[in-house]
Symmetry: C2
């Protein structure tokens, strides 16, 4: 056999061309008109896994977007690792801000641009390619693997808890590696020890029953955009602190140790400002930027609409206005409880003359954390130290993955984030891209982790 390194090298062009094909499928889970594309992406993955030598690859229905499963379980006596990823993407809008069409992947130098390039498809395909390189280059894997790919991560994985509950035996394993993660920089690795939870609501405000003339009825009746603006602005104090009553009641305060660990991670506010294109950062007083982003709960307005949005002017007093809100939660906030607090807040702050309705969005997630010295973390730490030539940082992330909490609650397994995205790669934004060099590094890292795990076991 030629060995996995040589195999991966020899087949690199084909691997990259497969990624381009995968990125062409607009598997946007949030938009009903793309539901078929999510199914198509699942089918594509199952076929690609079979081609890689992975066994039993199949699309499994969930009632919502599907799951893809596959396995290779011939490493007798060795640990079993779940390889988790997701194949759905965020919507591509605002589409007019993309330099190239979001679902026509474009390679420029070391970068491949497309919606889903970094989040998640470029990362998600890595373990498939790593397993192919080992199976075809070595003839066998040194460990057992179970692939578990979902198509609903970006909408909060609403059908995944029930799916995992119904397939506990199929999914049983020692721990999971999630490809949905990042590096600290191009030359530094990271170990993720906490992810925020998530919940979301939509607020709809109703004024008069139809749009009316602002000259005739303006001043006589409440304006629903004004009512909405007041509700939204009441949710935060001007200093940036969330002002929803009870919002912080169950938050576990950061310890001095927590704050020291966060402060140990190099982070440059000025560089971050430049990256975001803002003159100043802003948020809850009394916390550093990283503390706010990583370890404090947040409330964000994701969208707002109402009345006339076209070019020119329309002197209308509109009937309706609305907004979408998501909160990122930290231990021990519970999504259902936070949504109840928001409902109470909206009821209390809706101005006279308008009516507001709060609709809970599906796809909540509880906050997740993993002990810093969990054996799987130590394994990942060793591999990353070898690859980058220095130890990785212990980090937290504001981004949410519902599945980590689900796997812990139902299967009793921890998930180690093992992905290769970088923060500047515009995920969830126009001109999303992934560095091809990171994608190469990811395949190397997965192969080395399999080798080390096969040689030393999980407690090694």
């Amino acid at each position: 056999m030629m060995g996995w390194r040589a195999y991966a090298q020899e087949h690199r062009d084909r691997f990259l061309s497969d990624l381009v094909d995968f990125l062409r499928i607009p598997s946007v889970s949030a938009l009903p008109e793309h539901a078929c594309d999510v199914q198509r992406a699942a089918r594509w993955i199952a076929d690609r896994m079979t081609a890689a030598g992975i066994e039993g690859a199949k699309v499994m229905q969930t009632g919502g977007h599907p799951v893809v499963y596959g396995e290779w379980l011939h490493a007798t006596g060795k640990p079993t690792v779940m390889l988790y990823g997701h194949f759905d993407t965020q919507p591509a809008d605002p589409i007019e801000l993309w330099t190239n069409p979001p679902f026509e992947p474009t390679i420029v130098g070391d970068r491949i641009y497309a919606r889903g390039a970094v989040d998640p498809k470029g990362n998600m395909i890595i373990p498939i390619l790593a397993v192919e390189a080992m199976l075809q280059g070595e003839g066998a894997l040194p460990v057992n693997v179970k692939f578990f790919f979902e198509g609903q991560e970006e909408i909060g994985s609403p059908e995944i808890p029930e799916f995992v509950r119904q397939h506990k035996d199929l999914l049983a394993c020692d721990f999971a590696l999630s490809s949905d993660g990042g590096q600290y920089s191009e030359t530094e690795g990271e170990i993720l020890i906490a992810r925020k939870g998530l919940c979301g609501v939509q607020i709809d405000v109703q004024g008069p029953k139809t749009d009316v003339h602002s000259g005739t009825s303006g001043g006589a009746v409440q304006n629903p955009i004004y009512a909405l603006a007041r509700v939204l602005s009441s949710m935060r104090s001007p200093n940036g602190k969330i002002a929803i009553e009870g919002f912080f009641d169950s938050v576990v305060p950061l310890t001095d140790d927590d704050r020291a660990a966060i402060a140990a991670v190099p982070f440059d506010d000025d560089e971050y400002k430049k990256q975001l294109g803002v003159d100043e950062l802003f948020g809850e007083p009394g916390y550093t930027t990283l503390e706010r982003a990583w370890a404090r709960p947040t409330l964000d307005l994701n969208g707002v609409w109402g009345g006339f949005q076209g070019e020119g002017s329309k002197t209308v007093l509109p009937a309706k206005a609305g907004a979408k809100i998501t909160c990122r939660l930290v231990p021990n906030q519970e999504p259902e409880e936070i949504m109840s607090l928001i409902e109470a807040h909206v009821a209390k702050f809706t101005p006279k003359g308008a009516k507001a309705t709060v609709t809970r969005q599906p796809g909540t997630a509880r906050p997740y954390s993993i002990p810093k010295n969990h054996p799987a973390n130590r394994l990942a730490h060793a591999v990353l130290e070898e690859i980058y030539g220095k130890p990785p940082y212990y980090v937290r992330i504001g981004g949410t993955i519902a599945v980590t909490g689900i796997l812990l609650d139902i299967l009793g397994i921890y998930t180690v984030s093992f992905g290769f995205g970088l923060n500047d790669e515009c995920f969830h934004a126009p001109d999303e891209f992934f560095r091809i060099s990171s994608w190469d590094r990811g395949q190397l890292a997965y192969c080395r982790l399999f080798e080390r795990l096969g040689e030393r076991g999980l407690e090694g």
Copy 2:
């Protein structure tokens, strides 16, 4: 000759079919994609005027939407009245709330439904039909008339001041009748003595330079929707009073006489609530509903947008948010001054971490009022008293027509509102309609006004 009454009766079906044709043209002045339709409507009117026997009918370009002019000036020694109207309409959106397509006119009983049915086309065509009935039924008009129709009323008539200035001789006359007005009820007429002025701005708020992931950057950087919501909600006190510094400084207070005249007009708050579909009316404290709507300045949010507006959820912290605002002004507020106050307010109330830009919208209008006992008002009063069998009310309107101020400033003539719309006819809203019986009454009223003016002159 058969007389104008018999002529109008005999040709009624054709007149109505002409109105249907006219309503089919989507002459929406606010939307650039309909600019050709506005031109088409102008051409249609000029042709229709020529067919009516009106002389010199022509489309005249303004640099923006066109003007249509026509005349009949053979009543030697008699007064000359300008017949003003506009042929542009509001946009039709939200189009999904229309029962029938807005530009496919539908007649149900006494009602004709279409965008523009009441505002303005059903009203605008009345003086053309009245003049045709007199010219063809009597052989001549008892007065001189000049038609002046514009295609940019709904966007604030930006090119009309310059046009009127350049055509002072062509447009010279004793006074104007505007078809862009209403009856008080189906059995009561009204004389309009004041119209509010208008100015409008767009606010654009910029947060990070691109949309970013709410999990990664939420809590670290200002959210432009929040920033916008705070700016918008700061523009009013919770009690409904506009909170922009200096906004009321130049407002001429209502006198006891003004308030008594408004109180004399029958108005039922409960009926109005039912019509709007709201549980309570709302606005500036200390004033009645009619005082607020007719005689106090207002600030209305016409539209708001930002971030993700699709179905489902998108956990984005958007780069931009924006809103459109219009103010209705009363004597002696000046549009330019009010826009400056809004700019200062936005600059002062934009939260840290976001940038707001205010863009002044074209098409401002100064507030307008006409002395209650102006000779042209007395003439209209006499005609309306004859037609309804009781004297009309003296009313004010929150709705703005730029042209009345323009004609007064440049030509030195007052405009008497002489239209037949009713408040429940959904103008600027879905399912706009006009009562065909009002349209009949309007033709009668114009003919009687011409006769009375020809018999007694303006001072009669």
